[in-house]
């Protein structure tokens, strides 16, 4: 078990490096491959109005003329020890961990990310609880009452949930529940938990429901399929032959086994969401990582995009690691070596 954990941790660290290199390449290497020059890269930092001399100077100061691996090394070094950016007028300091420095807002990226994280975290955790509760129970009941009216209604709703995009359900939700019925908060009214838990809950209620609706639809289908498969296993017949109550047969033996693959998918989904629920945050104007990423892309703010991308990748990798470790807890057959 210990070796298993160590092996997994090692793989996760390696993966993060690969992801960071890939992300870095996308923003600094690939533009060159398609004809970009250090000057065109530097233009993004100084704005289009700058003179060619200024652009060259900035490109020089930012090290864009150096080999790509030197640039990558300096960027990685910045994450661990911080970095200084000298772009003419003043010396900008970006303390460790420096995930980049935005020359548009004149701020390091990391504090921004830390600032945005709680919003995304609140959104993701709340929605996850909701969709697991809804999806698993709907899926289980559908599987047990297969072919019944209940099953068909639940699967019909879930088909809608899977197919309707958030920017549709979200806007309809806002229109109906916020602006017409006044049951939920208007768009763009986020209150941090630390300030007022009640307001926080109120402001996130609709985003939770909308986000969870889509996911629970998917999870209900997964759970139903998994349950149907498990219920035909031999060990379910054994459980019944032991004289177990039908509820124990279904939950302790059936659902328990059907949950394992769902755990994997949940890890991935949750990890992705922590990187920013882009659509949900945009529709409800929630100041989370997803909204941050969208704003950065719209403003062509490369360091921010790079920072938030790496952060998102980090969460996916971590979520996968946690899932792998949990898998060993959930499925004893994995616990070898």
């Amino acid at each position: 078990m210990i070796t298993y954990i160590i092996r997994r941790l090692f793989a996760a660290v390696l993966l993060l490096f690969i992801v960071s290199a890939a992300t870095f390449s996308i923003f600094y290497l690939f533009p060159r491959l398609v004809g970009g020059t250090p000057e065109t890269l530097a233009t993004r930092y100084v704005g289009r109005a700058a003179t060619p001399e200024t652009v060259t100077l900035i490109a020089h100061k930012l090290g864009f003329y150096e080999p790509i691996w030197v640039q990558y090394g300096r960027w990685i070094k910045g994450i661990f020890v911080g970095a200084d950016y000298n772009i003419g007028s003043s010396l900008e300091h970006c303390p460790a961990p420096c995930f980049g420095y935005s020359f548009i807002t004149h701020q390091p990226v990391w504090p921004d990310l830390l600032d945005r994280l709680p919003v995304t975290l609140s959104l993701a955790i709340g929605a996850a609880i909701l969709w697991l509760l809804l999806g698993l129970s709907a899926g289980t009941i559908s599987a047990l009452r297969r072919g019944s009216l209940l099953d068909r209604v639940a699967m019909g709703i879930s088909l809608a949930g899977v197919s309707l995009p958030i920017f549709f359900t979200g806007l309809i939700g806002l229109l109906v529940f916020s602006y017409t019925l006044n049951w939920t908060a208007d768009g763009g009214s986020y209150t941090p938990f630390t300030e007022n838990p009640g307001e926080w809950f109120y402001s996130l209620l609709l985003p939770w429901v909308v986000l969870a609706f889509q996911f629970s639809a998917q999870y209900a289908r997964l759970t139903r399929a998994g349950m149907l498969e498990t219920l035909s296993e031999d060990y379910i017949r054994t459980a019944r032959a032991k004289g177990l109550k039908e509820r124990d047969v279904n939950v302790r033996h059936g659902l328990r086994a059907a949950l394992t693959p769902i755990l994997t998918i949940f890890g991935l989904d949750f990890g992705l969401l922590l990187g920013g629920a882009v659509l949900t945050e945009t529709v409800f104007s929630l100041p989370g990582l997803g909204k941050y990423a969208i704003d950065a892309i719209t403003n062509n703010d490369l360091p921010k995009v790079l920072g938030v991308t790496l952060m998102a990748a980090f969460f996916v990798v971590i979520a996968n690691l946690v899932v792998d470790l949990l898998y060993a807890v959930v499925d004893p057959r994995v616990r070898v070596g």
Partner: protein, 346 residues
């Protein structure tokens, strides 16, 4: 009720039908038999003859929503067919229990062997987990698992095939059932392990004095364990007798076929085993007349009755011997001793 002379299990005219889109599958169609405590009944037949369906039916494991069950299954004073689900559930695993064919897929991969035995015990006994665990360790020891106090915490995949079947047996015996049904208990095991498991089942049966039903297509298993043998074909009993009669003086052509297709060490080696020609019949569309007649080489001797009329199960040569065949019993005995037996031993 648990009088020694009174059969512990009595099945009367059991029918288990499954309505499907293609028609009604008559898996079991009018089966009657009984088993006493301390006795072993072997149910023999090809795949699809209805033997496993019978066992699951006795255990009350069929959903009344998608199957039609009629007849009676008397288990120590309770009728499994007409009792409500909760009553049958309390019998299951307690008064009657079952050993399945493949012990790996029949045990839950996520729970330890101990947890699964403890669960089986605690369904029917309100005791603490530690008491039940002691019981589980004790049972594992009795079925011959070495270091049971340590192995109790292992998962099924950490056991070998034979050990797993032993654990399965331990689990089914933990509540001291008076009826044990073993459905192909040795099919998934190595031949060497098979013999051990059969010995174990034999010993445990005499120790617990339970009624045992062994379901198999392997006549070797029957020879080893059974007191009585019921041969099934197309959902019906076609021959019933004590084990000696079945092996020495069988009267049904199908039983002859089964014996001919079984390798035997105690007889001179014949060139080839003789398979029964044809395939088991479809349980949706059984042949008219005797279900076996399309495959029966003696069918011409029925004078045309074979293809028109289903023969009754009627008394034959041996004691309590019943055979479902149009050929008269004297004629059958003659065919067996003059034509079939010499060929098997040639």
């Amino acid at each position: 009720m648990t009088d020694q002379t009174q059969p512990f299990l009595e099945v009367k005219d059991l029918k288990i039908h499954f309505p499907t889109d293609d028609g009604v599958v008559k898996s079991v169609d009018g089966l009657t038999f009984s088993v006493e405590r301390g006795k072993t009944l072997g149910i023999v037949g090809e795949s699809g003859s209805g033997k496993s369906v019978t066992s699951l039916g006795i255990m009350g494991l069929y959903n009344k929503r998608n199957s039609k069950i009629s007849g009676q299954i008397w288990l120590d004073g309770d009728d499994v067919v007409s009792s409500d689900d909760e009553t049958v559930r309390k019998l299951r695993g307690n008064k009657m229990s079952m050993i399945f064919q493949d012990p790996l897929s029949s045990m839950h991969p996520y729970y330890t062997v101990g947890q699964q035995i403890v669960e089986a015990y605690r369904v029917h006994h309100s005791v603490s987990k530690s008491v039940a665990r002691k019981h589980a360790v004790d049972m594992l020891g009795r079925v011959g698992i070495p270091q049971p106090d340590r192995r109790v915490d292992d998962y099924p995949h950490q056991f070998s095939g034979g050990m797993r079947q032993r654990a399965m047996i331990a689990m089914s015996l933990v509540n001291d059932p008076q009826l044990l049904i073993a459905d192909e208990p040795t099919t998934a095991l190595d031949v060497t392990v098979q013999a051990q498991i059969l010995d174990l089942m034999h010993d445990l049966q005499s120790e617990f004095n339970s009624a045992l039903i062994v379901i198999t297509h392997d006549l070797g298993v029957v020879a080893e364990l059974a007191d009585d043998v019921l041969v099934m074909y197309g959902g019906r009993c076609i021959e019933f007798a004590d084990a000696t009669t079945i092996f020495d003086r069988p009267e049904h052509p199908y039983t002859w076929g089964l014996l001919g297709s079984m390798p035997r060490m105690d007889r001179p080696q014949i060139d080839r085993l003789v398979p029964i020609p044809g395939l088991p019949p479809s349980l949706i569309n059984l042949p008219t007349g005797c279900s076996f007649h399309p495959r029966c080489q003696f069918e011409p001797r029925t004078g045309g009755l074979g293809s028109t009329t289903m023969p009754e199960l009627s008394p034959a040569g041996g004691s309590k011997h019943l055979v479902r065949c149009h050929i008269p019993t004297g004629e059958r005995q003659r065919i067996w001793s003059d034509e079939v037996k010499p060929r098997l031993e040639a």
